[in-house]
């Protein structure tokens, strides 16, 4: 007698709950995602036990790279455009619409005012190349960081100052930045750190 072969059955798995869950998660991440603006300098933050989160708005960020180059950034497009207006007024540079638009989306700027116009007219790749060498001058005779901070505080009086420096940044540069802040009667600022894993205590 021939054996009956068990008929192969196509098992259909009901995927509906999985799909539901996946889309729920997508919705969640889509709503919570906050795209990180591309930063001009990569910074390895030092760790500390400080656990106060950085406020999300009204931040003026001074970034200091590992080799002590200084970058300036504000978080709002609005303030950036206001700062550009101030630069126009103060230094008499003219910026085209396109250059202003480029400026308004840049998270960080690290070029002296004199090079700003040409920097903004370049493409993204050239700008990246410049960012590798650029720095805002902070010499006592030509302290442009001071101007940047001044403009930013004019444009947004509520702005809070944060320093985002690489853990290997040389201290004299930090001291110069703090000195610049003190010159403008900023005695309260924030150092951005990552939360320390419990290795130290």
């Amino acid at each position: 007698m021939a054996k009956f072969k068990a008929k192969k059955q196509n098992i259909a798995i009901d995927m509906t709950p999985m799909v539901d869950l996946a889309f729920l998660l997508i919705t969640f991440f889509m709503l919570t995602v906050k795209f990180r603006a591309p930063q001009a300098v990569e910074v390895q933050l030092p760790s500390s036990i400080a656990d106060t989160p950085l406020p999300a708005q009204d931040i003026l960020m001074i970034s200091i790279s590992q080799d002590g180059r200084i970058f300036f950034g504000v978080d709002s497009k609005h303030v950036r455009l206001a700062i550009l207006e101030k630069i126009k007024e103060r230094y008499g540079y003219e910026f085209t619409e396109a250059e202003a638009k480029t400026f308004s989306v840049l998270a960080e700027i690290g070029v002296p005012f004199e090079q700003l116009k040409s920097y903004l007219s370049y493409g993204e790749l050239e700008r990246k190349a410049i960012d590798k060498k650029a720095s805002i001058p902070t010499d006592s005779t030509n302290n442009q960081l001071k101007q940047w901070i001044l403009f930013a505080r004019y444009s947004n009086p509520k702005i809070r100052i944060a320093i985002r420096a690489d853990e290997k940044a040389p201290y004299p540069v930090i001291a110069r930045v703090i000195e610049t802040l003190k010159d403008q009667k900023v005695h309260r600022f924030n150092l951005i750190t990552t939360l320390e894993a419990q290795t130290k205590s």
Partner: protein, 187 residues
Amino acid sequence: MAAEVGGDSGAPKKGKKQGKARKPKKRPRIDMTPMVDLGFLLLTFFVLTTTMSTPNTMPVVVPPKIEKKEDVEIPKIAEGKVITLLVGRGKVYYYTGVENPELRVTDFSPKTGVRKVLIDRRAEVEGRYGKDEMIVIIKMMEEAQYKDFVDILDEMSIIQQKKYALVDITPEEKELVEEYKKSTNLS
């Protein structure tokens, strides 16, 4: 006459449709695989791009600058309450008092480092002057890195030291450290 909307319920209805033979409804099977693929692709994308961790900050307050013109008297403090830390790269040179400073060295290690030095000194000051009287003077050396700066401020918050000041290093102190380094190299 009321217009019929939908009408997929099996119950017989009044109106035009009454009596009409209805086709048995067949549930179409939709292959959901491409949708699921796309869904998970998007999910992966958002999981990877999202930045969940917000950076933390350490608030710092620095003393206002004293203008040369202003005749501000620098507050005088008792010698016995003070400890001065000269922070170098990964190392802390320290001395107590003001006259004839005797330099010693420590580091940032948790149990034996600068924290212990500060706690010992605090106990000593507390015995003589009372609670919360110790004053820490922090002087950053040029060789120091940002990390050292954060570390020393961190130590202040760990031991809950409220009275500390960031002061510029003097040439004498620089010399002192240089001498110290030389003497330890020789021995």
